[in-house]
């Protein structure tokens, strides 16, 4: 393979990763890392460096549209971000003291369970049942967005802020320890515990993963893990893909987004279980 062929191919594949990542609120690392290491035989260090850039590219590429269309709940994002970053800091300190193997098994099971629960409520846009939410009332987290697929404004209430904070802390610890899967835990936490509509959950997760990844990306850059030759087509492709994906999110039906998310989540949980069981 010549450098030119690599640039074109990596750009095209990253474009697809950007569409999927921006729709589902995941970083796209689940596509970028295996493609770079297995297909292009690139060193894992540079693959991880390019993947962290792709997380930021997904987030920033999509965020401009999501913030404008009020799909992202900025207040929820900031409240939860406190827990996520604290979790990531704790995770970085715990690294080496906890066996990765058990974490893979535990979180593989958590993700599998979340996927089943999300599948269970596949036909709901907003949970109608009223839940008292003193924290969300106090922090004024309730909001609304315009759903283009349904052609109407969707009002929603945020519930169980404290449970959400605890889950986000856990998601942060896992991403600090294992360096993966923070979006895959954030979306179910917002969807299942805090009762956010699925579109708001993926858009808000998208915003958050970019913010968290930016701090680690600075460190990766100074360590020399971000090879511009590898990261350039990935970043460009993902930005273009994420821009397209962010246009799609408004138009697509919540049910479809939920089903695709459930499928991807099941796949990630299976991968984690296999890694855990193999030791």
């Amino acid at each position: 393979m010549t450098p030119f062929e690599f640039t074109l191919l990596a750009f095209a594949i990253s474009g697809a990763a950007g569409v999927l990542g921006s729709l589902l609120g995941l970083g796209g690392g689940i596509i970028v890392i295996p493609v770079l290491t297995l297909l292009f035989k690139i060193d894992i260090r540079y693959a991880i460096g390019a993947s962290i850039v792709s997380v930021i590219a997904t987030s920033s590429g999509a965020a401009a549209a999501y913030v404008r269309e009020r799909m992202t709940n900025l207040r929820v994002a900031m409240v939860l971000e406190v827990a996520t970053v604290s979790g990531a800091l704790s995770g970085a300190f715990l690294a080496g003291q906890i066996k990765g193997r058990w974490l893979y098994i535990i979180f593989g099971l958590v993700m599998g369970y979340s996927a089943l629960m999300m599948f269970h409520k596949r036909n709901q846009v907003v949970t109608e049942e009223f839940v008292p939410a003193p924290w969300a009332d106090w922090l004024k987290l309730h909001s609304s967005y315009y759903d283009e697929a349904l052609k109407r404004e969707i009002n929603y209430r945020v519930a169980r802020t404290r449970v959400g904070l605890a889950l986000m802390y856990g998601a942060g610890v896992v991403s600090g320890l294992l360096g993966i899967g923070s979006g895959a835990l954030k979306v179910p936490a917002m969807d299942l515990a805090m009762r956010l509509p699925i579109k708001v959950s993926t858009a808000t997760s998208n915003f958050m993963i970019g913010v968290t990844a930016a701090a680690s990306a600075g460190v990766y850059f100074m360590r020399g893990d971000i090879d511009p030759f590898v990261a350039a087509p990935v970043a460009a492709g993902v930005v273009v893909g994420a821009t397209i994906g962010s246009r799609l999110l408004g138009v697509l039906h919540s049910r479809l987004i939920r089903m695709v998310f459930v499928a991807v989540l099941l796949w990630i949980s299976l991968q984690m279980l296999i890694r855990g069981l193999q030791g």
């Binding site: 690599f6 401009a64 406190v82 922090l139 930016a214 511009p228 460009a236």
Partner: protein
């Protein structure tokens, strides 16, 4: 105060302020992303202009992605490389701009909450920015 704005949970002018802030953040993000995309594309094109052998030589691909491949990874290297019009340095500048956008977004959000006179969220957002900088510096020490 008109009686109407007392009744509605969010006064109209406050909602208008929120909306204006959202538009500013959205535009800032778009500018950051487009700027970095432009730098990455220009740098890549320059790289291929300077090295026409990259179109044909598989050996060069091996070298470019091999562990320990030479490329700028300090801000000083990047600035020096840009002055020499080196493609990879311009790409790296674009990647750094991309990495900086989410952090700038949080910083702008702090001002947005100050503008909305929302003390609680000004503090929460400032705490997020502090934690981000802390994890960046702790990671650097490692």
């Amino acid at each position: 105060m008109t009686p109407r704005s007392k009744l509605s949970p969010v006064p109209v002018d406050a909602e208008d302020r929120v909306r204006r802030v959202e538009i500013i953040i959205s535009n800032l993000l778009r500018a950051g992303v487009l700027g970095s995309l432009a730098l990455v594309v220009i740098g890549t094109v320059l790289t291929f202009i300077h090295h026409p052998e990259y179109f044909t030589s598989p050996a060069d691909f091996e070298r470019l992605v091999a562990p320990g491949a030479a490329f700028p990874h300090s801000v000083g290297d990047v600035i020096q490389g840009i002055q020499l019009w080196r493609g990879q340095a311009i790409v790296t500048a674009g990647l750094l701009l991309l990495i900086a956008t989410p952090v700038m977004r949080v910083a702008v959000l702090i001002f947005a909450f100050i503008y909305q006179e929302d003390r609680t969220f000004t503090r929460i957002t400032a705490l997020v920015l502090f934690l981000l900088l802390l994890s960046f510096f702790l990671g650097k020490v490692e």
